[in-house]
């Protein structure tokens, strides 16, 4: 099927014991598209990301990506590797998402060797290319994570994810831990990467400004359910559901005066 969406999630459900974390969630991302999932913490956003990447198995529902089903755990190393080349993820906390004893260059090289093979020289060139793409110089690439700032670490994590040449990149609150100026840099970087490679994004965030900057479509989640969906601009400018209106109203804007607490 030529017009099959890149990611197709149908009636996804996840229960933890009696608690339903994700309840009948369906959405699609077209090739080259970008979708945001917004909602408060505990709304099931990250659980969805974990199920799409295969870190958690869904209770029911199906997930298809790049034409392959991934609702069930991968059978065998080859399938696991193929899935790794389709969907990648950048986690929230750059202080935990890098091996403390491995430099960025070594981490990226390991991924290249896994997915592309090639000689050590070819891989070294590609590591430098990816470093340039995310704005890391040679010294930063060869430093251990403890010598890097949060923003630099997150760039390493992005480069490592991109090294697999995925068609979908999940950004799970990936800029939330960074301070505002670094956040803007990383967001610009992500927009550039998308323009350059045609990669699709699934952005998970509670930050509406970030969502507006890099996504075309959005779904709003609360208590594991989708409460509103549509084009990012429309949903954020004219929210229909009261919860979306509440989220929107919670963002400080010009003219906002803090109320003094008694």
């Amino acid at each position: 099927m030529a017009d099959e969406p890149l990611l197709d999630v149908v009636a996804l459900r996840k229960e933890f014991g009696a608690h339903v974390a994700v309840d009948d969630v369906s959405f699609q991302i077209a090739e080259g598209g970008s979708l945001a999932i917004v909602g408060e913490s505990g709304s099931g956003k990250t659980t969805i990301a974990k199920m799409i990447t295969g870190l958690l198995a869904p209770t029911s529902g199906t997930i298809r990506a790049c034409g392959h089903d991934r609702s069930r755990p991968a059978k065998g190393a080859a399938e696991r590797r193929r899935r790794g080349g389709e969907v990648q993820i950048v986690f929230q906390d750059p202080y935990s998402s890098l091996d403390p004893r491995q430099s960025g260059a070594a981490a990226i090289d390991e991924v290249l060797a896994l997915h592309r093979g090639g000689s050590a020289d070819e891989r070294r060139d590609r590591v430098a290319e990816l470093g340039a793409l995310v704005g890391l110089d040679d010294r930063q690439l060869h430093a251990l994570p403890r010598a890097l700032s949060g923003g630099q670490r997150q760039r390493v994590a992005i480069a490592r994810a991109l090294a697999a040449e995925p068609r979908l990149l999940i950004l799970d609150e990936s800029v939330a831990a960074l301070d505002v100026s670094i956040q803007a840099q990383v967001l610009n970087l992500l927009a550039d990467v998308r323009a350059e490679t045609g990669i699709s994004y699934l952005l998970i965030s509670h930050d509406l400004a970030v969502v507006r900057q890099i996504t075309d479509d959005v779904i709003v989640m609360r208590n594991g359910q989708v409460v509103e969906r549509g084009a990012t601009r429309e949903v954020l400018d004219a929210p229909q559901h009261e919860y979306t209106q509440l989220l929107r109203a919670s963002v400080p804007a010009p003219g906002w005066t803090p109320t003094r607490r008694a």
Binding site: G54, R80, R82, I89, S96, A157
Partner: protein, 295 residues
């Protein structure tokens, strides 16, 4: 008198004193680390070449020299059988060091494997293995040594096997909790999403990050193993008496201690203590150095 003026072009910047930073591989372990390594190196050389370094035959008895103190050519004197003590210390180094080394190696390999496997797999596998290890925990090393020596002939080998079994649950439990903590970190999840094989993640990343703890545990364990093996030999369940061994010498020297000739127990005991302390200090320093890489 005019004030002394320093001409900066003559004095220049004070040259940085080049300090010797230590033997490569031991850098950052300090003086104590270097001294410990030296003690262990000497112990290692003696363990390998001891029987040729010994000035006299360590097993040659001459009852007319029994309990004779230090004399010319015999700096430590003689034991109750009139055997040269220095020669027995040198010849006994091999079994005294080989035993603990084998115990530590065996227990670390099995313990680390079980720890990483249970932390990785979780669920029922983790519960069953952990329950099995808890049962083993109930047996003190000495009791296990007695059980094993019933099954096979008491020897250094049987004592080593018994101690390895006794120490494995201890290692596995300490490392399992560390492995669980490491397993929960995002970099492991990122590697899983990449599609790297589980055992490669375990060896290349999980194991590597556990290595400082493994070294530290090994060092502590070496000390315990040395003392426990000496105790087992003391009970007659390890190295058998005519053979020279530090643990055996501490025990056979007892009768001498009571009669006022403490040199046999004392010299063997000092050797044990020196090696145990050196291993512990070096292990601690190496662990500190390894951890300074990440924090």
């Amino acid at each position: 008198m005019s004030a002394i003026e320093l001409d900066p072009t003559v004095v220049g910047p004070v040259p940085a004193t080049r300090r010797w930073r230590g033997v490569p591989g031991l850098r950052g372990t300090g003086v104590a680390g270097h001294l410990s390594a030296l003690v262990l190196a000497i112990a290692g050389v003696v363990a390998v070449f001891g029987q040729w370094l010994a000035p006299h035959d360590p097993d040659l008895t001459n009852l007319s020299y029994a309990f004779v103190g230090p004399i010319e050519g015999h700096p430590l004197g003689f034991d109750s059988q009139g055997r040269d003590l220095l020669s027995r210390i040198l010849a006994g180094a091999r079994s005294s060091l080989l035993g603990p080394t084998a115990v530590v190696t065996l227990a670390m390999i099995v313990g680390t494997f079980l720890a990483v496997a249970t932390a990785w797999k979780g669920g029922r596998f983790d519960r069953w293995v952990s329950a099995g290890l808890d049962v083993l925990f109930a047996f003190p090393a000495i009791v296990l040594a007695i059980i094993v020596s019933v099954i096979v002939e008491p020897s250094l080998m049987s004592a080593t096997i018994a101690l390895s079994i006794a120490y494995t649950p201890y290692i596995a439990r300490v490392l399992r909790s560390a492995a669980l903590r490491e397993r929960a970190r995002d970099y492991i999840a990122a590697l899983e999403v990449q599609g790297l094989r589980a055992w490669i993640i375990c060896v290349r990343h999980l194991g590597r990050n556990l290595l400082p703890l493994i070294v530290a545990q090994g060092a502590v364990l070496f000390g315990y193993a040395m003392v426990d093996l000496a105790a087992i030999s003391f009970l007659g369940l390890g190295v058998r008496p005519p053979q020279a061994d530090w643990g055996v010498m501490v025990s056979t020297g007892q009768s001498g201690v009571l009669q006022g000739y403490p040199l046999e127990s004392l010299s063997a005991g000092v050797c044990i203590i020196a090696v145990v302390i050196a291993v512990n200090i070096l292990g601690e320093r190496l662990t500190e150095r390894a951890n300074s890489v990440t924090r």
